[in-house]
């Protein structure tokens, strides 16, 4: 087990290295450099100014030393300063992070609460009317874009009941109730979409387990169906579901980017779009790198928990 974990962690280092080069390279590929791109959009500025700005950012140095500068700063959590506000990139990300985290966490809870019961019911009553409704629900969830769902959640209540959630961001510490009222709709929009994937996984995983020998034995012992399903089948069926739940973190990150735009919440996603619109390259680089590291870390944890939950995988080696 320890060997497996060590192996997985070691493997993620070259991956991380590849990602960092890709992110660093992507921004450098643009014709001209960040400063030229910025200044041309602002109007004419003397060549002297450009040279000065370039020096202050260190982009007049050779590319390899630029990369080493950037990556060693990044390792210490220092991604440099924003081109637009001149403030620390790391600080700006930290300021917006709680908002996106709140959406994501409530989103996951909503998604699990919706998907598990429907998935289990769908599998237990396979090929019944209940199953068809459940599956159609999941397919719909996969097809509906979260930002459209978000818009509907804003429009329909306001048309029908004249209700609009508070549109200016209220921190949880200021007014917990208003804050929750504000976050429930965006979280639902994000959670609903990932519920579809989770439900499908729960259903197919349950279907496989429900025919297993130990479940038949439990039934033969005369246990109640409810106990068989919830105690014996569900436990085993949850293993692949947890993996998918891990993968959903990546989807939630994507989901919050779009949904924050719809609901006007100043989270990390909105910061990223702002950075992209202003061509604020240090900020874009830092955010994409942080997202990649987060997803990589989650994948690592999922793999490890998977090996821990299912002993058959433990001896499977590095892949």
């Amino acid at each position: 087990m320890q060997q497996y974990i060590a192996q997985r962690i070691l493997w993620s280092i070259p991956t991380l290295f590849l990602i960092s080069i890709a992110i660093f390279g992507m921004v450098r590929v643009i014709p001209g450099d960040a400063i030229t791109a910025q200044f041309t959009s602002q109007g004419n500025i003397s060549a002297d100014d450009i040279a000065k700005a370039r020096k202050s950012l260190g982009i007049d140095e050779p590319i390899v030393s630029q990369y080493i500068d950037w990556i060693s700063g990044a390792a210490r959590g220092d991604f440099g300063d924003s081109l637009v506000t001149r403030s620390s990139v790391t600080d700006r990300i930290w300021d917006t992070l709680p908002i996106s985290l709140e959406i994501a966490v409530i989103g996951i809870v909503i998604s699990v609460v919706i998907s598990l019961p429907i998935g289990i019911l769908s599998a237990v009553k396979a090929n019944s009317m209940t199953d068809y409704v459940g599956r159609l629900f999941a397919l719909t969830g996969l097809a509906v874009p979260s930002f459209w769902l978000g818009i509907l959640l804003l429009v329909l209540p306001s048309v029908w009941f004249g209700y609009l959630p508070p549109l200016r961001y209220i921190p949880f510490t200021e007014n917990p109730l208003t804050n929750l009222r504000q976050f429930i709709l965006p979280s639902f929009a994000v959670g609903f979409v990932s519920a579809a994937t989770l439900m499908r996984m729960t259903r197919s995983s349950m279907l496989e387990v429900i025919r297993a020998d130990h479940v038949r034995t439990a039934r033969a012992k005369g246990l109640q169906e409810r106990v068989v399903v919830l105690r014996h089948a569900l436990k085993l069926a949850m293993i692949p579901v947890i993996t998918i739940l891990g993968a959903q973190i990546a989807n939630l990150v994507t989901g919050t980017v779009v949904i924050e735009q719809v609901f006007g919440l100043p989270g990390t996603g909105r910061l990223l779009i702002q950075a992209i619109n202003q061509r604020d390259y240090p900020l874009i680089q830092a955010m994409v790198m942080m997202i990649a590291v987060t997803v990589l870390a989650v994948n690592l944890l999922v793999d490890i928990s998977y090996a821990w939950l299912d002993p058959r995988i433990r001896y499977g080696g590095g892949r």
């Binding site: 509906v144 459209w148 048309v159």
Partner: protein, 303 residues
């Protein structure tokens, strides 16, 4: 001396002529549609959108960009089925023309992405060894980026336009396609018929493309149908964020973000139609994908 048993038999043996290919395909489709009613509905929806996208001029009643063909922010009526937007353009016509962009980007990016992904997956699975390990690490790295974020950055770097969007979304599709094709190739390459081909002196190239590729085509067809939906959703999200194909080209995501969001309280339908179009076509594609998986993958048929 051997005698041909058929020629020697007193009763004339009639070998029925094989029906032409088109008849066989039609029969297969008829049988498939009876087995998969939901998939058939999906196929019909997708077909309707494909028609709209191919000949939008014939389906759309008005010029999609013509301002003032109706009053501003009109509700639905006989002359404007889906109403009009804030500058009096016909929403139905804009939705029809928007289908063109979605189909172009959806199918274009999946075509590029699965072709490249299939090639890489075939080679990776067939070659094995160090090449395989390196390719898989690279795929892992690519998969670490959430799709939309990667597309956002690529479009920022490359600029906005149809070719750029197709390429950016194709890059998201490559790793998934590579994974699936590699897995299928691994399962296929140890079969005896591959050994037989090798003994007969077939080249690697021939084994890969004449023997393995046809046998891994089922999962490829399934990913294509599902991935087109994913690609359409990503295009819509990018347009919604203002990073899709720039106006005046009408795209569903852009209609939602500009007209839909600004006027959603005065004319809620403006925010409903484009989203409905996206959801319907993606749902159709998913239904087709599910049905194809059931039809083409015998292992899952019992489920």
């Amino acid at each position: 001396m051997s005698v041909n048993p058929v020629a020697a038999s007193p009763v004339p043996v009639v070998i029925p002529a094989r029906p032409p290919r088109i008849v066989r395909i039609a029969k297969w489709m008829l049988r498939a549609s009876r087995q998969q009613p939901l998939g058939t509905i999906g196929a019909v929806v997708v077909f309707v959108f494909l028609v709209a996208a191919t000949v939008p001029g014939l389906v759309a009643p008005y010029d999609p960009d013509k301002v003032g063909v109706g009053a501003r922010l009109e509700g639905s009526s006989w002359s404007h089925v889906m109403g009009t937007d804030s500058i009096g353009r016909d929403v139905f016509s804009r939705i029809i023309w928007g289908a063109r962009l979605s189909v172009l980007i959806g199918f274009g990016s999946v075509l590029v992405g699965t072709t490249v992904g299939t090639a890489i997956g075939l080679v990776s699975g067939y070659a094995g060894g160090l090449a395989d390990t390196l390719i898989q690490r690279f795929v892992d790295a690519l998969m670490t980026f959430p799709g939309l974020i990667l597309a956002l950055v690529l479009v920022t770097v490359w600029g906005q336009g149809v070719p750029q969007l197709v390429l950016a979304i194709a890059i998201l599709i490559i790793p998934g396609a590579t994974r699936i094709v590699r897995g299928a190739t691994l399962a296929e390459k140890n079969n005896q018929y591959i050994d037989a081909a090798r003994v007969l002196g077939a080249s690697h190239h021939r084994i890969l493309f004449r023997h393995i590729l046809p046998n891994v085509s089922a999962p490829i067809i399934v990913i294509v149908s599902v991935m087109v939906g994913v690609a359409i959703l990503i295009e819509a999200a990018l347009s919604f964020l203002g990073l899709g194909v720039p106006p005046p080209t009408s795209s569903w995501g852009q209609m939602l973000s500009i007209e839909g969001r600004t006027y959603m309280l005065q004319q809620p339908w403006l925010a409903i139609w484009p989203g409905l179009a996206i959801s319907l076509v993606v749902l159709g594609l998913n239904l087709v994908g599910d049905a194809l998986r059931d039809l083409l993958d015998p292992k899952l048929r019992l489920r």
